[in-house]
Structure formats: C-alpha cells, structure tokens
Amino acid sequence: MSEVATPSKHAVLATRITDACSAHGVVGEGNPQAIAALEALPYPTTRQERWKYTRVTRLLDIAPQATPAGTLPEPVLAGLDAHTLTFVAGQYMGDDILDEGPEGCFVGPRSVALERYPQRVLEGSTDGFATTEWFAALQSAAPQDGGCVIVPAGHRLERPVVLRHHMPSGIGVAQPEHLFLIGDGATAEGIIWSDSATDAAGLLNGAITAKVGDMADFSLEIVQDEPGELHHIGHHHFTQGANSKLTVRTATANAHWLRNDLHIVQDGVHADSTFHGCYLPNGQQFVDHHTRIDHAHPDGRSNELYKGLAADRSTAVFNGKIMVHKDAQRIEAYQSNRNLLLGEQAAMYAKPELEIYADDVRCSHGCTTGQFDREALFYLRSRGMTETAAHNLLVQAFLAEVLDGFREEIRDYVHDVYARRLGWS
C-alpha cells in the first residue's frame, strides 16, 4: 500500500488552469509531449538564470473565477483595412473566415483550420517551448483558440491579418494559440493585438508560433495593451527558412505583470531577422522580455533593438541571447538594448548573452541603462521647456527609434497610451 503523495502546488495550479480552459473550450487534444513535459519539468524559480528576476510563485495562487463573457469588446484599429479575427478569453467570436480552398490561403480560427485542414496545420506545427518551459507546456497541454493563418508557397496575403485577443473582466484564464504558416516565397503581414478589460486579472498564457518558408517575407506586429492586473506569459516562437525575411515588433503598451519569451530560429542560409521591442512600465508593474536568436546556418543576419523606460517603482528585465552555431559562418548579428530609468526606485536588469561557436562572425551588442542626458535637458530647459516637458520630449525621442517602425495606426496608438501614462500632450 503506497501513500498518495500530496501533489505539488504547481501541479495543482496546472490542474486548475487545464480544467478551467477545458471548461471554456480547448482546441484539439493537448499535445502529448507537452503533457509529459508538464509533469517532468520543474516549476520556474528565481534560482534559474532564465527566471532570476521573474518571480512566478505569485502565480501559484491564481484561481480563475469568471466564466468568459461572450460579449464583443470595442473594436481596435478601426481605420485599418485588415482581415480581423476576434477572440475573447481563448474563444473565437465568429468573424469572417477567408478560405480559398486546399491550395489557397486560409485566415480563420485554429479550431476551424484543424477541422478543414488538419494535415496542413499539423505539418506546420512545431513544439516551440512546449517541452522545455513549464508554462509553455501548460499552454500546449490545454490550448485554446487563436488565429490560424496559412499562406501557401508563392502566395501573397493582400490585407494584413489582425488577430485580436481580449481578456474580459474578472479573474480569468486563457491559453490562446496563434499560428502562422507562411509557405516558401509567400508574403504576409500580421498584427497580434492582445488587450484586456481594465479590471481583468488572472493568467493569460498564450503562444504565437510562426513557420516562415524559404524566400518568404513575414512581418508581425505585437501589441500588448492590458490594463488591470493580468499576468501574461507569452511564448513567441519563429522558425524561418533560407533567404527568408522576418520582422517582429513588440510594443508593450500596458502590462501589469508580463513575461515574453521570443525565440527565432534561422533554419536556412541567408536568413534575415529583425526584432524590435519597446516597453514603459510604471507604478509597480513588471515587464520582462527574454529573446533568443539561433543562427544555425551560414550568412544570416539579425538586427535586434529593444528600448524601454522604467518609471516609478516598476521593474523591467531584458535578456537577449544570440547563439551562433558551429559552421554558421559569416553571420552578422546586432543587438542593442537601451534603457532609461525614470524613477529612483525603478529597476532595470539587462543582460546580453552571446554564445558563438563559429569563427567568422560579426557580432555586436550594447546594453545601456541610464538617466536623462543632462546636457540635452539643460538645452531644452534653456529654451523655456519645463522639466516635465523636456523629459517628455526626450522620452518620445528615445522611443521613436522603435515606435516609428510600426505602422502608423499602431505607432500613434501606443504613443498615446505612453503619453497618457506620463502626462504628455
């Protein structure tokens, strides 16, 4: 007779989250590898380098209560000519689906894609972080609905796709999964807009996976605009083929507690990756961007730029890993992370990590955390600007390098969110 061991706190959390997701609706079976990994993997602690500054013990107590409200939130990016799909708490809200048949493009929810084109979806799927990261495994064990965009080889998606996910009021949980399958030589633009009600709380544990074929060109803009007290963990995984071009821009407009893991794998020669991001936590907010790029083949290029400010008593974390594999010669990899501290009690932890196993590589990186440029401040004040006006102008200028890369509608939106936060205008 063996005693039944008391399950660990995180196993209880896993069950609670999985049950809640299943109750509201998951898509397909949970990934068996992820389910196995969920049992085997340890729960992250600050003793692990990747979670050093990111305390997830607080997430153990999340107990989802609210059943997702089935109401549509106010539209976003109203002026943009785009193909928009809306999801609320991991459930598809029923907008138009673009389906050009088995040989053509598909833009719709993953649930429908799996019904109509199971083969195409499964062929393109990857495990991403699901077998290596506890929260990713949890997501993949009970995945909910998200967008699925399939652009076959040689096709071009004329309009951008907006995949909008909304977390409603209350303590909720959602594990949406968005998938982009961009075939060889195909072209597409996507926007993932993740927002919440102002009194949303709980856990948003979402995945974005993109597979970009040889010679393909894919650009993705991610906007995270979540007021309230939500905990958001994002698993963003990209694989790109030879001679492909990938651009990922992430704007964290609003986040109570956020961890993003962004991983790009260059799985062919001459791949080109651009990934930029910006963030501006204030109050007691916490924002953590972990990025990694794998240059696994020769002649790849990457350009990474993350910029942010930490105000008040907030904390920002940046970790950027560049991995250049053996024989991945003639890589050009540039990484830059610039931070401004706006509050004496604000904290910024920034770390570049370079692992280079090839010998002919051009790599540069720079991490800086500073205060305002005193000379610039004096110059602006000597022209009559108040200290606040001068700060605001310098903040805008600081972020412009990243924000200007977004399409105008998004740039202006995020700019306005930041402006309201810092009292600009």
Partner: protein
C-alpha cells in the same frame, strides 16, 4: 536691464569667476572678449541657469529681478536666451517639434494661449529666411549631424523664434564661413531693437564689424579687466591681451 555685481562662481573646487561686474542697458549691445579659459562661457552658462556652477558671492539682477532665484526654464520665460558655444545634439527630436514645444511651453508659463499651427509655420518660415536656414534642417533632429556652421545658424534661428529680451551669443561666429558670418550677423542686426539687449562673446574683431557693439569688455582671470568702445576690439586684435592683463597685474601689485 542686466546688472552683475562682484560675481564669484566655482565648479567643484575650481573658482572660475572672481568678482565679475558688468551692467547692460536696455537695447544695448555689449561684446565680451578674452583669452581661452578666462570664464566667458561660464558667465554665459550662469546667466542661462546651468546648475553645475555654484555662485559663492555677488548678485545678478535682470529687470530688477534676482536672476539667481530663477531656474533655467524660468529664465527663458523671463526672456533670456543663450546661443550655445557647443549646441547639443538631440537625436529623435525634430527641430520643428522642439521649437513648437519650447514656444508653447513659454507661452503657457506666461499664461498666453498656444500659438496656432498656421502662425507657427509662418513664423518658422520668416525666421528661417532671416538666417537662410536650409528647409531640410528644420525637419531634422535637433543639431544632429549638423555641421559646425549649421549648428550656429540654428541657434540664431531659435533666437529669432523665441524673441528674447536678452540674447547671450557665445562664440556664435566661430565655425562660420565668410558668407554665413554675414548672414548670421544680418539676422542678429535685424533683431536689434530698443527693448532687446545682446551680450556677444567672441574672439574675433571681424564679427564686430558686422554687429557693431556699444561697449567692449575684456574678461580675463574671471573678471572684467578692461572696458571700452567698439574701437577696443581693433586694438585687441592688434595687440592681444597681454598689455591689459599685465597692466592689471601691475595695478594690483
């Protein structure tokens, strides 16, 4: 308009101004010349309100107001403008956005309504014409990648936009080619008026051919050691500073 009395100032442990006295009437143009490192830019910076300097003795009044009580912003609002010897580059802030923000910030503090977009553009156009500032420079980031001469022109352009009561020009002529010198001087001259004063810091008499001063002062060792009319500049050009500095030393000995 401006009255500086027995001004002592230091940075860290280094005393730079050592009892400087100078007064400027409304509508007057005064030139300050003097050897390198004598404290000219220090004086200019202190007038503009740079906080790195500690004033240990003396006073500055501007229109009867104790200037040392005002911070840099308040001094600009009061009508003081400094054309920097080394204008600062501010990447990401367009010249136009910068000026609009500055102008409206000043207006707000003076409890005036913000300038309309139309009036602002008209003003930009007029002022840019005054110093023949290239249109492209207006839209670029403040001073970023500007040539030395373009930076100086941009300073005078800003001065024209902000219409100060007292303009302090710190070596605005250095780095200017002959044509630019003429253009910039023309800009300054056309702004001369009965209620605006200028303090022009320069090393070259040449500038004072264009901007003819009412008075010329020599600043050496942190003090004004000699003053005269516009002809003093010519004399300095010819003889250098030694004769004055030596005479001072003898006098003090």
């Amino acid at each position: 308009m401006l009255k500086i009395e027995n001004l002592h100032a230091r940075i860290g442990d280094t005393e730079i101004l050592k009892g400087l006295t100078l007064s400027l009437g409304t509508g007057e143009v005064h030139a300050i010349m003097g050897p390198n490192g004598s404290g000219k830019s220090t004086l200019a910076s202190i007038l503009a309100g740079r906080e790195d300097y500690e004033v240990t003795a003396g006073s500055i009044t501007f229109d009867g107001v104790d200037l040392l009580e005002l911070d840099a912003t308040e001094r600009a609002v009061a009508g003081i403008f400094l054309a920097f010897q080394y204008p600062v580059e501010i990447p990401g802030v367009s010249n136009i956005n910068f000026l609009r923000t500055a102008l409206n910030s000043i207006r707000e503090q003076r409890e005036e309504a913000p300038i309309s977009g139309k009036d602002f553009l008209a003003k930009v156009k007029a002022c840019a014409q005054l110093v023949e500032l290239d249109g492209k420079l207006r839209d670029r980031s403040v001073n970023e990648g500007f040539s030395g001469g373009e930076k100086k022109r941009n300073e005078v352009f800003q001065m024209a936009m902000l219409e100060p009561r007292l303009a302090v020009l710190d070596e605005t002529d250095s780095g200017l080619d002959i044509d630019a010198l003429r253009i910039v001087s023309h800009g300054v001259n056309s702004m001369r008026s009965a209620d605006r004063s200028f303090l022009v810091i320069t090393h070259y008499q040449r500038l004072l051919d264009h901007i003819v001063p009412d008075h010329v002062h020599v600043l050496a060792g942190g003090r004004i050691v000699h003053s005269g009319g516009k002809e003093l500049a010519l004399e300095l050009e010819e003889k250098g500073y030694d004769w004055i500095v030596d005479a001072q030393a003898t006098e003090q000995a």
